[in-house]
Amino acid sequence: MIKNILNLGDAALYCDFGSDVNQEINSNVIKYFYHIKKLNLKGITNLTPSYNKLIISYDLNMHSFLSLKKKIENIEIKENNKLEKNLIEIPVCCDNNFALDIKRVENKLKLKSDIILEKFFSKNYFCYMTGFVAGMPFLGDLNQEMRLKRLETPRVKVPKGSVGITEQFCNIYTFETPGGWNILGNTPQNIFDTSNQLNPNLVNPGDTIKFYRITLDQYNEIKR
């Protein structure tokens, strides 16, 4: 299922699963990720799954590119190896104070805000990967008519909990960070929990997310 393994610098394998972004390719990436993670190979220092790549970082004192490449190429993963999937429901408040870019999205998509939100909440989303900043999930896919580009000028600070869309994807800002996604609302739910060392991420690759809409009162109630 890995098409090609290149080197990324001198201490990482760059496993290429294809150039498209779809759930089939991504599920293969995630299967490899979990499989290799379970093997607990000595000297592997990081595994980074993304839409269609898996990067394997290693300790140069313990591996060289060619020997580790061979090891990874020899891994066999059964096609019917099922991915563990959780369904996670996440509340989102789309009050004007939170829906920072709803006007922009209305203009770009030529849809009314209630239609946009109805379409957004009517679908379940698949988690392709997490990262960039701790715990941030990259989710998809949005319907064709919901797709637009990111902001021309990224925000210097996107508030924590913001739920944003761009192209076929949506995400949740787990920390206040710079960012350019179109923000439709905010979740009071903690998506990344530093105090939970075993499983700090609420959402993991392969999971399914269902967003549901809440009022500002409900938002404040959960926050409290």
């Binding site: 080197n7 990324l8 610098g9 990081n46 980074t48 993304s50 269609n52 990067i55 960039f132 991420n201």
Partner: protein
């Protein structure tokens, strides 16, 4: 603990970006947490070796200007690594300290770390253990994700740094080491090297780039000839590693450093080899650098040589 039994430093001035660091945390990229850890691993290693500490003991890292510390407690030794100017203030007077040399501190003595010279990072530690909390097996502070002791924040004035253990059998040691600098940064061509025009590929290796002030533990932004992208200024977001050089939409290189974002969507023109990482991070804003292309096999050998050199320096501690 009664205050008279405590051994601690009080921070009179925090310095710039002063944090605890160790070797960092592994196997968390997939949830968005980078390695972190001491930026300059060689100086980290030398410091713990000089102080006869465990190889992964926490140290205090600072950038440009270090902290001014006042010590309270039983006699203790400290040492500083890196190219650093500092003063030791005792009842007998004030002396200039030398890096890679251990000094005794008594109750009430102070260490004032003025600056790093022609370099960015310096390290401070003691013959003992700082009282730190561990997060995913590391006490490294990642201020961007607010992970680590001190609530993931850099040190501030009046903070007290607890010492939970002093190695009483310690003998004062020193090392004659002048540090190691580099002008050409050696890189391996990146996975998106062919995204860039031939003339830009040439410029990347022939012309020099200036390190800008927009450089920190997350990344180093460079300025120089614009690198022209002829395929697509973005790629589908994918994992990054330390040392990756991405080219932004504006055509400028940005090098990923220890606290970098784990995923990125800019094309990768090259990656800095592991052997050159410690010396890269010590280059100050305003410095000009040139990139030199090396093969993967050479990079692997150069790393082994670099490690041997580090061990050789450690063996000269007396």
């Amino acid at each position: 603990m009664k205050s008279k039994d405590r051994n601690y430093f009080k921070i009179l001035r925090a310095g710039i970006n002063t944090t605890y660091q160790d070797l960092g945390r592994n196997n968390l990229y997939h949830i968005g947490i980078p390695f972190s850890g001491a930026m300059d691993k060689r100086n980290f290693q030398l410091l713990n070796s000089l102080l006869q500490n465990d190889y992964n003991s926490p140290v205090i890292e600072f950038a440009y200007q270090g902290p001014h510390l006042k010590y309270f407690g039983k006699d203790i030794f400290f040492c500083i690594s890196g190219n650093v100017s500092f003063k030791i203030i005792t009842k007998e007077g004030v002396i200039d300290g030398n890096s890679y040399q251990c000094y005794l501190l008594k109750n009430g003595d102070e260490v004032d770390i003025h600056s790093t010279n022609k370099s960015v990072y310096g390290y401070f530690s003691i013959n003992g253990t700082f009282g730190v909390d561990y997060y995913w097996g590391s006490c490294s502070i990642n201020t961007q994700a607010q992970i680590g002791p001190n609530n993931g924040n850099k040190f501030s004035k009046d903070l007290e740094i607890e010492i939970i253990d002093i190695n009483k059998s310690f003998n004062k040691r020193k090392l004659d080491y002048l540090g190691s600098t580099i002008e050409n940064i050696r890189v391996i061509k990146g996975t998106n090297y062919d995204y860039f025009s031939e003339s830009s590929q040439n410029k990347f290796f022939k012309e020099s780039f200036k390190i800008t002030k927009l450089s920190d533990r997350m990344g180093m932004r460079l300025e120089g000839p614009k690198i022209e992208n002829i395929v697509d200024p973005n790629i589908k977001s994918e994992g990054l590693v330390k040392g990756v050089i991405q080219i932004t939409s504006a055509g400028d290189p940005i090098i990923m450093l220890s606290d970098h974002g784990t995923i990125g969507g800019y094309p990768k023109i090259a990656t800095v080899i592991s052997a050159d990482y410690d010396r890269l991070v010590q280059l100050t804003p305003g410095s000009n650098i040139k990139f030199k292309d090396v093969s993967l096999e050479d990079a692997e050998t150069l790393y082994k040589l670099y490690q041997m050199e580090t061990n050789n320096i450690i063996s000269q501690i007396k």
